[in-house]
Symmetry: D2
Subunit: 480 residues, 4 copies
């Protein structure tokens, strides 16, 4: 995603909302530090806040402990506070950073006390009927202490639990009321439950290491903790990990799997390249996207480069297909952290370029194919094209490994409103001109289906075809 490399636009890229990671050690060993490492592998899914909740299945039933805070996993957890999280069942969460409601209150996992005891909940996704559900609850006297959808989900689970025989039945009953995108991990004092909405917008999978079982947003987190991938949680499935085994409930799965709607942008940008979602390797998808661009929009050039880091795999694919050498045009400064002091406006835009620098020597006099995964507002893309040209590039041919963004997303991606999207209401030539590229091409809509091996997907942000009808008024709740 281009925007993250520009000082001015550093927070304006498109973000995934959240990552979830749960673990259950059936041998009874403390597991929080494993969850800590798992969250590191999901950090790209959320940098605003994070948290870990634990329960000791041999302890009292109302003894879920949690540590949460604003910041990266690195910053929120110390060996001191991690050691205090005693328990063999745990759920963790990372949340992304927006300006608006970036508060400690909205950090997850949510831990709540209710009629039948306590539970912790971690959520990735976004409901489209959160507002209705919230109002309905409020009418009965409910109070909310956060502004996230996840609290609405938690309320429903707790409410349903009163009349349900088991926690997983309560989760199922709650899911019947939820509309939208959600991959959930619910921890009761003795169980770890995973659930994925019937559309399967967001990923969720199961792993195993010795006698410990895992639930996580992305497979790469399993690699990180040395666990084996077992299988994906199916869209609509509820999976319960208990000491007596793994129990699956598929009642809410679509009979017609073509109704499923995996977010295609997970493959294009969100997920880490080493993730495998529903059987499809993300790196391979991106290599393919690059190859398609080379097939469909070839150009004569001296070097193919990616906008780091997200553009690199597609650039490699383009190079493989076209035979044009793959090279590096940009150096990204990885030391620029969250506490970086932003340059004052008095330093001209062009003068301080701390985060991204052009490799002038590599670029000078060359015809460059520059690959990025998407263009949002266009300002950053424009700026990078200019950097290449200022460094002496003879031609800059921009290739985008996704179709143009034209519509908002209601399922957990913060694509800005239409009037801010460069592609909205513009022809391809107009876009090309506004970013000062020599040529510009996007990935064709028809290529998307090849990216994830034909699994049903959601491309609403490109096509406007929403798998669930979007809310008529502004969504008041926020993503989990």
């Amino acid at each position: 995603m281009e925007e993250q490399f520009s000082e001015e636009c550093v927070d304006s890229g498109i973000h995934e909302e959240c990552g979830v990671f749960g673990a259950y050690d059936f041998d009874g060993n403390d597991i929080a530090s494993t969850v800590y490492y798992g969250l590191f592998a999901l950090q790209h899914r959320g940098q605003e806040s994070c948290g870990i909740a634990v329960s000791d299945t041999n302890g009292p039933k109302k003894n879920i402990q949690v540590h949460k805070g604003m910041g990266l996993v690195n910053e929120v957890f110390s060996s001191e506070n991690l050691e205090k999280l005693k328990g063999n069942i745990s759920v963790g969460h990372v949340r992304y950073s927006t300006a608006g409601s970036s508060t400690r209150e909205n950090a997850q996992p949510l831990v709540l006390n209710y009629y039948k005891g306590t539970l912790a909940l971690a959520h990735n996704g976004n409901l489209v009927n959160a507002l209705e559900l919230r109002e309905e609850l409020e009418k009965t006297g409910a109070i909310f202490q956060t502004t996230i959808d996840s609290e609405v989900i938690a309320y429903h689970v707790a409410k349903e639990r009163i009349s349900s025989a088991t926690a997983e039945e309560a989760v199922l009953a709650a899911m019947r009321k939820l509309k939208g995108a959600y991959s959930l991990i619910v921890m009761s004092p003795r169980k770890l439950i995973g659930a994925r909405d019937p559309f399967g917008f967001r990923p969720l999978c199961i792993g195993k290491r010795d006698n410990t079982y895992f639930l996580t947003s992305e497979t790469c987190a399993l690699d990180t903790v040395g666990a084996e991938f077992v299988r994906d949680v199916e869209p609509g499935e509820v999976v319960t990990l208990t000491p007596s085994g793994i129990v699956s409930n598929r009642e809410l799965c679509f009979k017609d799997s073509s109704k499923q709607a995996r977010c295609i942008f997970e493959y294009i940008y969100f997920a880490r390249p080493d993730a495998v979602i529903d059987g499809v390797g993300v790196y391979a998808s991106r290599i393919k996207a690059g190859r398609f661009l080379a097939m469909d929009s070839p150009v004569e050039a001296d070097m193919v480069v990616g906008v780091p880091e997200s553009g690199n795999p597609a650039a490699q694919g383009y190079a493989m297909e076209s035979g044009i050498p793959y090279g590096t045009a940009f150096i990204k400064n990885s030391y620029v952290g969250r506490t970086f002091i932003k340059p004052k406006q008095s330093m001209r835009e062009s003068s301080v370029q701390v985060k991204l620098n052009v490799l002038k020597d590599a670029v000078k006099g060359k015809r460059i194919v520059m690959i990025d995964d998407s263009i949002v507002r266009g300002t950053t893309c424009h700026r990078i094209v200019r950097m290449l040209k200022d460094a002496g590039a003879k031609e800059v041919h921009v290739r985008i490994s996704s179709p143009p963004f034209l519509h908002p997303c209601y399922f957990g991606t913060d694509i800005p409103s239409e009037d801010q999207l460069i592609a909205y209401g513009k022809t391809l030539d107009e876009i090309r001109d506004s970013i000062e590229a020599d040529t510009l091409a996007y990935l064709g809509m028809e290529r998307l289906k090849e990216l994830n091996n034909g699994l049903p997907y959601c491309d609403a942000c490109f096509s406007g075809n929403y798998p669930i009808e979007p809310p008529t008024q502004d969504i008041r709740g926020e993503q989990g």
Copy 2:
């Protein structure tokens, strides 16, 4: 309170639970920094966590902002985060430090979203029916995210608000269900409401500075912010500050004011000496207590000393009445803060005395009257007597400015269980022997009524006469 001067027992003294402070600037100026200074004056009522919530009466109706954290006012607030709290109506809270549930989640003010909007709530006191109320709510599906009584109160206010015409009516309706001690400040986006339980266990008063009105636990916080004292909120009264004036509702006040039950220990120890509660100056109460001790339990001696700081006023009273000179026997090190590293057990108890030192020169060869406000477990009192004797004191006569603790408190004081109280099941001589004093005397029960000028008070911790029947099972909720 003795225990706070001993390394071993540093957290085992008796603590007040909370302090509340609210302000409403009818001229519309930002008021959070004034609340910050107000909380400093209440810091002795709670050092665990603190918070400030604000609302801008000219802003949108759902825009209450809050900053809370673990630690002292000093530590939680920086000029940076204070400046972000924009609004002319504000409520702040300080909470005390226990081991158990000293978590960020329990920090106040609570801010919640409910059917009619948002509200913030700060609470000082303890309910006796919190558990029943909580269970009742949970049966309807309510979830709780803290373990404090205050959340139960907030729920009731929110629930009643649905069918109430105004916020203050909702507060009144909620109060009808609450049993126990509570001084409340409730902030809605346009109003600041103060409420005190009919027994008046905890103090609450009104102040004014120019066009700004205040609600606070103690009058000294008004002095601190340069405000004038207006009047106390009466036990049972609900007071609403609105741009159109101050409205009072006394529906819940006892017709028979003799049913009121002000905590007498506020006068003896909790409140700051410069506070005036319900018209009675706290310093004067303590001087009186010292005088009574001198009248009722005289002794020949060379010097009267107080155990710093809480024993000093009564020691001054004793000196005034007896004519024995008042002196200083202990130097307290005020630099020993929360992050102080406790001496390891390998350093013998007697060897490292960082917090309190005896003034050997002043004590040597003298007959000392040593005044303290109370004895809880007796270990610290014993230790201090020993320090005096080791320093060469010829005699140590201990005088305690309250009767012996014999019963737990259910109204907001953390008096330990009976088996930990030194006075429980012991004769006066046995207590005296166990602390190695030459003589020992407590303030007589009959003197208590003179301490607060005859206002009805609660002395249950001494007498066992509870104004409200205590709960039959352990209280699950916690104090606000």
Copy 3:
């Protein structure tokens, strides 16, 4: 010292510069944590920065380790960094806070590598010939990395060490060149050396606990660590603690002890009341000063109060002598720490009084004798008198337990320049009027000699009689 209780003037009081604390465990146990507790007892002598250096006498000869930082002992040391300081010989230092050169570089102990190895040095005092000595060294190519006198001393010790047989001889040789006030602790890898200038401006004494010996500025630090007082280091004496015993060298002691010049202000204000300096108890000195004021400047009144905390002992003495009851008029807020956010100027001076509050009830309608240890600029004294009058005091009679400040100090006290001193060029009546007191009296010059039992003392700040000729130009170096 009055000024520390006023928001505006919080850093403008008179400060002691430094405290030193050294320890040598001949049994070879780690000693840094004991030094840590010792520094707590000296914290009033310096709050700017602190540090601890250690050497392991069984380790290599060049292995002095140090941890220093800006802030209180509390803030600079954690159990983590304290544990890393392994060694059985150690020296610590606290330094006071000024605006000017409050930098990490100036923190002590200084640790340096030189021809014969390494040494650490901690210094309390101020040289009058630091500038000349520094220039002399610089002419030979020396470089300085701090702006403190202590570095000049360290240089001389190191230089002399080249041609000296022992470290203590080097200290002696260096002392022959130093003019001014210095109490020193020098740690070589195997020895701990204490030295006090011949005038004895600043205190230094020896203590013992089991097989551990101590050097410290004040005896109260010995009490804190459970050590016994052995004796004071004499003015001019060099004391060496080695595994084979304590060796004393008195070559530089004045034969005529009447040349000694102990800072009388240590007794009046600087030292902690529980310190005993050269055999004279500080609390007793202050009681005496109060008694003298009562004898020499009596007045009819209802209550004697001290300006907290430094005025309290003299107020007790005044009460004892006069028979007027001792009471409390001011409540000081001990929670206001270094990170306290100062009120903006927009809040009027009078409106926010976070640090000090008047006990209105105790003061109203009374004739008050208010005791303080000194008046510097007069602004704070004035402000406090006004607070009493605003609270309804009928009369305020100010009694100061020292003579008026009229001259700068060159020996380690930061008395401001003459034009800032309220007493300079004013009659007593003029001073009284400017602080709006009803009457005002200072302690008489002739009383000073009685405060420390007839030991020779320096009263230059009152009398202008400097025991060493002051430097003709501004002192460039700074106090250690």
Copy 4:
């Protein structure tokens, strides 16, 4: 450098020691924040500590201010402390992290007061005669407060300054005594002086932006602050920036430029790829190295991958030359920071791989050419080869873009002692076997000269041919 990607060996890679950055705004504007951004671009040269010193050429002559601290630029500087650094002339420094003497005292720039005033010094490199020079100075009474060579240099500059007409002459005179590697920036209150040792071991260059001039280790820092490259400082040259212009002194330059000895490892690994050193682009050097490997050590394979990030450019070169597609095999987690909690030994080595993950899909069944810049101990290289094989790679052919390390470096690189080097005393086959590669090849010694376009270079770490005789005993000083 391989080692930085492995949990166990995270601090055992080969490090550059330092980076320097200076700026002089002749228009008189504050410049510290520009230096702050410049240091970001040099952060890869040192992550242990950093600092910025400033002087205001319109202020008093003794007014150099400095802020230094342990940690990254990000961590040490806040907008608050940066704003306090007022001045239009400034020098900054980054230092690298070792276990040994990673103390605040060793942070640079050094700021010192000496006979003629004050100066600040920042140094990159390592002297071979530091010990002799230090002892010589110590014999005259000098004391040292750090353990870095830079203090020895500072002493000499200060000493020479006494008899020199100008600061730059003092620098020249000092340089006549120094043996070894040094790129220096010296700031006097009115001048900024750059100096590079005659061998030119470490880079140093000049830049310009409007009326501001810069000195910096690498050109990429000029790009970062929007400055143009002017020219390199020549080996042996002293350059003085003054308000009246840039003055060069080449007295110490070798007449025979073939004596110069640029560190060839700057091109291979240390410098950022976008740096240009003495006219040679670093990225181009690395591409060349990769091409040479492809020419000299070809192999049949399916994919070329780099060990991130340092192996990537050479891998691209190998791909270009060989025609084998360039791909990605490893995902590096960039969120793992300094406060990362290392996995306990109880988690098996293989189980937690937070920092580096293999892209299994991309690797499975493939013949891989894996490029890294060097092998030090071999443990990490071995581990990465194993990761590839475990992920299903059919063959792993290791190609190293430098010759084998066989000798220690005395000029500013922390190459470990010979017995720790995998190549020491082993045949190529033995090395290959120990890392379990299918084939292994290093860059040939004869190729080195082509990497930097024929400029004279130092390859002592590979060849043992030291341009300056190394010290006979262990070096006591440390790199600056």
